[in-house]
């Protein structure tokens, strides 16, 4: 059992009607999270993805959530006001079934961090760059039980272990460290 603690809950409200499909959110997210910061840019590394199918009038920004090792047993299909969305469109998971929310080179999972920064940003970067206000940031306080969460390196390693097996990952780490 964890302890009860006050926690700031960050919320991004997404207004699909206002999205104009510009992908500025993807651009600035990938730029902000680059190393060095803003040193490169690549929407394929973004933690927000725009599902964009203009001829169906589908414009759906989706945020990267947790990594998952296995894909769903079944799929859901949403039809909203006659528009049929793709089977995985609303899902936030970095999952083996698709390329979204994975680093394009290593395949490591990506997750939205609501833009942690030091000093803190007033709003997540994607919200700042969405001048059309399709993305609106809100904060509220909640009492929650503290839980221990795996850090990013751990989540990343776990995904590699799932993909290649523990032995191969250990071998590679040993080989890399012996190269210095």
């Amino acid at each position: 059992m964890g302890v009860l603690k006050k926690k700031k809950v960050k919320v991004i409200k997404i207004d699909l009607e206002k999205c104009n499909g510009c992908r500025a959110c993807e651009v600035i997210c990938s730029s902000f999270h680059a190393v060095p910061k803003y040193g490169s840019n690549n929407p394929a590394r973004s933690r927000i993805r725009l599902i964009r199918d203009p001829l169906k009038d589908i414009f759906l920004p989706v945020y990267a959530g947790e990594y998952t090792a296995a894909q769903c047993m079944g799929r859901d299909k949403y039809i909203i006001q006659g528009k049929e969305y793709g089977e995985c469109d609303f899902c936030r998971a970095s999952c083996p079934s698709r390329d979204a929310f994975k680093e394009p080179d290593s395949g490591l999972p990506l997750k939205c961090d609501m833009c942690e920064d030091d000093p803190p940003q007033e709003e997540p970067l994607c919200v700042q760059w969405c001048l059309n206000k399709a993305l609106i940031y809100e904060e509220r306080e909640e009492e929650v039980e503290e839980e221990v969460r795996p850090d990013e390196v751990e989540a990343g390693l776990k995904s590699l272990v799932d993909k290649y097996g523990l032995g191969k990952v250990v071998d590679t780490v040993v080989r890399l460290s012996s190269k210095g």
Binding site: R23, A24, N41, D53, D57, F59
Partner: protein, 668 residues
Amino acid sequence: MRYAETGYNLEVDLSRGNIERVETDPRLTELHIGGLGTNAKILWDRVPPEVEPFSPDNLLIFGAGLLCGTPAVGANRTIVSTFSPQTLLMAYSMMGGFFAPELKHAGYDKVIIRGRSPDLVYLWINNDRVEIRDAGHLRGKGSLETAEIIRQELNEPNAQVAAIGLAGENRVYYASIEHGRSSASRGGIGAVMGDKRLKAIAVRGTKDVNIARPARFIELCNEVLKYIQFRQENPVKGVPPILAVLGSPQEMAIHDEEWHTNNFAWGNARYRRKDFWTREVEEKWKEVQSKAVERLISCYNCPLKCGGIISHPQLKRYMMKCYSKLTYTMAAMSDLEFGFKIAGLAQEYGVDGYSTPQVMAFALELYEAGILTDRDLAGMPSDTEGRFFWLLERIVRREGIGDVLANGTYWAARQIGRGAEAYAHNTIKKHEQLPLKLGMLNPIYFLMYSTGEKINITQIEGQFPQAPFATRELREEFVKDWFQVPDERFKQYVLDWEPRGERSIPYYPTIEATCEIVDWQEKMHYIDDATGICAGVSSFHLKPPYHIHNLPDIISAAAGIDLDREGLSLAARRNRTLIRAINVRRGLRRKDERPPENHWKKRFPELEARLLDEYYKFKGFNKEGIPTRESLLELGLDYVGEDLLRRGILTDGKSDPAGEAPAEAGKK
């Protein structure tokens, strides 16, 4: 490491099916910035003037602007360059959308197409994997349709596709290359793509684009964003609605069309209808537009909403931008509903939204005049709208009279003869112009129309008001926060410019001021065309967020090249002069540089001649409009001077004009 650019071009030879990834010379970036500039350099080096547009030796270059794929707001232009079957000169059309950034992320700055494929093919660029694929199943398919099929068969919803429609396959001289809601449509570059038997290019890229000085660069980008917001909240007063706010004209959002409908000419660029716009029309059009436009949409990384998703009960959804909602409407003397209907079909066929309606209105005028007869137009319906649809079908298939009309008004008139030439009255350098017929000569516009190398007024105007403000108060208010000017004296030109009296057109702005104003406007376009920044957030506008004071800094922070205002201005001039030289080598001379005779009712031949003389001098051209050896030397284009000398186009070190060159050379 290369910054902002990838440092690689993709060379594709369709005749031999050969694909190569070639590293580029970073010095060329310093000299030409990129985009249009480096495209022009390649065309100068590799396509001699004897090469006809429809020759396997002609190149078709898709160049991403230098800043495309970086976070620079609105940097998304693909600059497509080749030689035009219509003008026989260099054609460079730009398309927005998502293609250029995707190409950069795939690891290339340009795709350079040469040769001609034996069969219809498309190119699939997926990072390092590039294939030429059979497109037999795409023959005759619409441009948007083609993109959909390709994305599906590749199972790559994120692939960006640029495709031609039937018009391009059939080498219609004003065929476009379509990419979603964007298109590269002027100058018939879609016909060249069709001639190469290249149906489409699909690209997907997941690599990084690097920034040289990240902190500084992002700070500048944020300033641009902030100013865009400010500008949209504070429209310029005293100008028509589409010029008051930023954006590649906000035609999808704005319904007030008083300015276009009252000032632009209807039919075959003939009639002004100064009292067309009434309350009744306004209400009707507003309703039609709000029903048709389902959502406003943007290009890559741009907050403005210049495009619209159009849905109409009788049509498949399509995307529209800018002024095309009115070009068909006005050419057919019809209404907005018709405009929305025919534009969608025209886009699937892939034809230019400016030239096409004019060609059709031209044909109907010839019919009324008895020059085209029932025999030529057998089967044509009796109503104008029906006729437009009928003609469109003939043109894109080059069927019957369509085969002649597919060559544009200039060439069609010469083929038809019997006095048809007089009806092809609205071209410059053989290319259809905006349907504008005005009263008094405007010296600024005279020079821009005459000398613009893009041969399209919207690609040279901007920055400076199109007409004097009505009152002193408006003028004063306008110049108050006009920090974009390269020099304070431009403010004085605006303050002194009056609608009537001594300081009005055609003698004010003075010749000297006119040269400076035109040069400034043109320069900003050349910079955009090299960086890939959309003119709609930049050079096309009054008080844009990008200007000569921040652009050098933005480019150097992104690309890591040393650049100040002078350096950037010099690069822009170098690009502009190189394109002039390319065209001069193909026969362009002073005699080709004039607006349509009837563009203005009141003309001033002497003043016009002096304007040209002075402007040529200002630009470093001789009296024939040919860059002088001195100016070429100054720009580091010595090799161009030597070539022109060898060809006898320049005769000595001085500014001696060469004799008449065969302007129509290369035409079968």
